[in-house]
């Protein structure tokens, strides 16, 4: 049925997360924006036990699943309770981003790298790689994903980092350069972390040759070369990484190492990782919603202090420009959030959601940017000032329409799906 009631558990988690946002993140949000490349230690220390516990329980569930894989399952009469995991996650992420999306990106956990491993790794790989994120008593650790290169952004098929198999040592040798890797320095230099690196085992095979490899901290030949200075999300670590004959164990490849023909069937590695975007795009959309909601709330609060309230029942010819702006922004935000919940709900139901995932990312990324930019405008001299958070929210919001698939790439994905066109039919 069509239902919008929030489960109690989700509501409670969301409320707790909001307290973290308010009490841990907001007080330091401006500080870490002004002190780029300093680490948000308060947030990291607070979140590490929470994230480690989550990762620990994930691994326990995976072990149980593997054990019962061969056993006869009790008959499922279809009355299973639908999962609320993703819906719950989206509500939490939205609150964290509402707190400070830049600090949120520094959450000590596997992040996108961990997601890739969870999506396509074997149980052995999950144990080997994810255990470091599952022990609250050990120091915080970070995971990252390195995909983008100077010559390969939206065009992932242009990735030129190579992975060559050294059969004598049974190792992969990585060569190449990655840029714009979120948490790359935290993962490789500042913790016992890891980076999931996209490299090709056969350039001539295009996408079919592309695989992902887990590079652990401490691997020789891996060097973080540059920390970016950014428009926003300045507390987040964004780096370039050079791989110079970096050797990693053969078993660090995720998915099958085999190269298939371009058009034959599903190739677990590349498509598996593309599928992780179907799961991560709604999360990014949720962060976009959180940032914009923060901007809108601050704006309404400041307007109210100045004696300006929003009348929902004023006729159009009497609505002030600002009332109209606020009402429109609220509507845009609501549409973005509902699209995000829909994409997440499909994941909870185990449904494929590539179209809905790209829809919510495109919508939320753009709406959030426009909302935050508009809020700076509305608040005039104080909106533009660094004394208030709104100008930072505008800078922080823009990235949502750029990373994990630019707005245009997500539009392209939506367009292909609604037109039923393949990637060669619609470029």
């Amino acid at each position: 049925m069509i239902d919008f009631s929030l489960p109690e558990r989700v509501k409670q988690q969301a409320q707790m997360t909001e307290m973290v946002a308010l009490q841990v993140m907001r007080p330091k949000a401006r500080y870490y924006d002004e002190h780029e490349h300093e680490r948000p230690v308060e947030y990291v220390q607070f979140m590490w036990p929470v994230m480690a516990d989550q990762q620990k329980r994930y691994l326990e569930r995976e072990r149980r699943k593997a054990q019962s894989a061969g056993e006869e399952k009790p008959s499922d009469d279809g009355q299973k309770e639908p999962s609320t995991y993703v819906i719950g996650l989206l509500h939490m992420v939205e609150r964290l981003a509402w707190g400070d999306v830049a600090q949120y990106l520094c959450t000590p956990s596997g992040m996108l790298g961990g997601t890739a491993i969870e999506a396509v790794g074997t149980l052995e790989q999950k144990e080997r790689f994810l255990s470091r994120f599952a022990d609250a008593k050990s120091p915080p650790a970070w995971g990252a994903m390195a995909m983008t290169e100077p010559g390969a952004g939206s065009d992932t098929s242009a990735i030129s980092t190579t992975a060559t198999l050294d059969e004598s040592t049974h190792e992969w040798v990585l060569n190449g350069e990655k840029i714009f890797c979120t948490n790359g320095k935290l993962a490789l230099d500042e913790s016992n972390g890891l980076v999931v690196v996209w490299a090709t085992v056969d350039r001539s095979a295009g996408r079919a040759g592309m695989k992902s490899f887990v590079v652990e901290a401490g691997t020789p030949g891996v060097r973080v070369t540059k920390q970016e200075h950014k428009h926003g999300i300045r507390a987040s670590d964004t780096v370039s990484i050079v791989f110079d004959n970096a050797r990693i164990p053969y078993d660090n490849i995720l998915g099958s190492p085999e190269v298939r023909e371009k058009d034959s069937g599903s190739v677990k590695g590349f498509k598996g990782a593309m599928k992780t975007f179907d799961a991560s795009r709604p999360v990014v959309a949720a962060t976009a919603v959180g940032v914009a909601r923060a901007a809108l709330e601050i704006t309404k609060e400041k307007l109210a202090e100045a004696g300006i309230t929003i009348r929902y029942d004023a006729p159009p010819h009497e609505l002030t420009a600002i009332e109209r702006d606020v009402i429109e922004m609220e509507a845009e935000l609501k549409a973005s959030w509902l699209l995000t919940l829909r994409a997440g709900s499909m994941l909870d139901q185990g449904e494929s959601n590539a179209l809905e995932s790209s829809m919510c990312k495109a919508k939320a990324g753009q709406a959030s940017t426009h909302i935050c930019q508009k809020c700076v405008e509305i608040l005039g001299p104080l909106g533009y000032s660094r004394e208030w958070l709104v100008e930072k929210l505008m800078r922080d919001s823009k990235i949502a329409d750029l990373y994990e698939g630019t707005h245009e790439i997500n539009q392209l994905i939506v367009a292909r799906r609604i037109l039923d066109y393949s990637s060669s039919e619609l470029r």
């Binding site: 639908p82 006729p315 509507a331 549409a335 495109a362 470029r427």
Partner: protein, 367 residues
């Protein structure tokens, strides 16, 4: 739990309405727009779907088994996908029946609702919109003044009153001249002072006859105030009207989107279907996103209505967003067809004419 799947029953209802929309409405929509009229038998077939009795509780003769705003939203989307103009004509009696259900006293419900569960639909309507550029649906200029003899006197001008020429009775919304409260009043055909005026000449929704009317000192008994002494829950009625318009907006937008998409895949220029060009493909993608976003907002608002929550903020957001979305979608429908989109042989220009009015049509639909 947050879920987005209609029930099986709702699915079956939607299928039945889709068949009616495709086999009946779509077949006559063009000619009905050209001729500014549609035959009664199309409406009779629509009445057979039993949509309105499905929203009226059993104790008043219907077969609703709970609040049905979400179901109504699903139904209205399909009807508008067929044809907005005929859909509005089919749904006109609801403009009388549903406010009675939402805000009537128990005697009012018992008196009026059973007739709407009959084989034949009683001719009834409502008058809300007024002929002013500065018309404010929250504050009608039509006045209601309590008189010493226990009647209420109605004064003012209304317009866009659907089927006023054949209606046996109508609800007229007016502002109490002393308290400023807005209430609905049941006005019967033939009451002194009720002057049905000219049929409106409108840009779209041409199969729906709507009329100007004048209330020149019409006296109605106190008992005809919708909601009795407590008065009318006007906010609920206006808000639910806006949510209904949102659902209709989604339907007509979807029609335009599908038509433009299919056309773009067929139409070859520069050696390939125009759908393979990003300017066209991206526009269609944006329309699809907006339609889905608006639909979810309509569903959420309808769900709030079924829960009995306050509706003013959600309904206002829905109305703004859905009207804007419908304009974007139907304008895109014309744009994607290029010059051909401008010609009345294709439905897209009609959908644009129809959809542009949704922002103005407060009170022309309700759920």
């Amino acid at each position: 739990m947050i879920t987005f799947t209609p029930t099986e029953e709702q699915g079956m209802l939607v299928d039945a309405i889709r068949r009616y929309a495709e086999n009946q409405l779509r077949k006559v929509a063009h000619d009905a727009d050209e001729a500014s009229e549609v035959s009664d038998d199309i409406l009779a077939k629509g009445w057979e779907l039993g949509l309105l009795p499905g929203l009226i509780p059993e104790e008043y003769g219907g077969y609703a088994d709970g609040p049905g705003a979400v179901t109504a939203a699903l139904a209205l989307e399909e009807l508008a996908w067929g044809d907005l103009s005929i859909a509005l004509k089919l749904w006109t009696p609801a403009l009388f029946a549903l406010p009675i259900l939402i805000s009537g006293t128990d005697p009012q419900k018992k008196t009026y609702l059973p007739a709407f569960c009959d084989v034949e639909c009683p001719p009834a309507t409502a008058a809300l919109i007024e002929p002013r550029v500065t018309f404010d649906p929250w504050r009608p200029a039509t006045t209601a003044t309590r008189c010493d003899d226990g009647t209420v006197m109605l004064e003012g001008e209304k317009t866009y009153v659907p089927l006023a020429d054949t209606a046996e009775r109508m609800i007229v919304y007016a502002t109490d001249s002393q308290t400023g409260k807005v209430d609905g009043y049941i006005v019967e055909r033939g009451m002194a002072g009720l002057e049905i005026g000219e049929r409106n000449k409108l840009m779209g929704i041409r199969a729906l006859p709507t009329f100007a009317l004048k209330l020149a000192g019409v006296r109605v008994p106190e008992a005809n105030r919708l909601g009795g002494e407590a008065g009318t829950n006007y906010a609920a009625i206006l808000n639910r009207s806006r949510i209904a318009l949102g659902a209709l907006a989604v339907g007509i937008a979807r029609a335009a989107f599908e038509y433009a998409r299919d056309y773009a895949k067929e139409r070859v220029q520069f050696g390939a279907p125009i759908a393979t060009k990003q300017a066209i493909a991206f526009r269609l993608a944006d329309v699809a996103i907006e339609i889905d976003g608006a639909r979810l907002m309509v569903w959420e608002a309808a769900w709030h209505a079924d829960q009995g929550h306050d509706l003013t903020q959600p309904a206002t957001l829905v109305k703004r967003y859905a009207a804007k979305m419908a304009l974007f979608a139907t304008d895109s429908g014309v744009q994607v067809l290029g010059g051909h989109g401008y010609i009345r042989e294709h439905p897209v220009e009609r959908w644009l004419r129809n959809a542009r009015g949704l922002v103005t049509f407060d009170g022309l639909a309700i759920l």
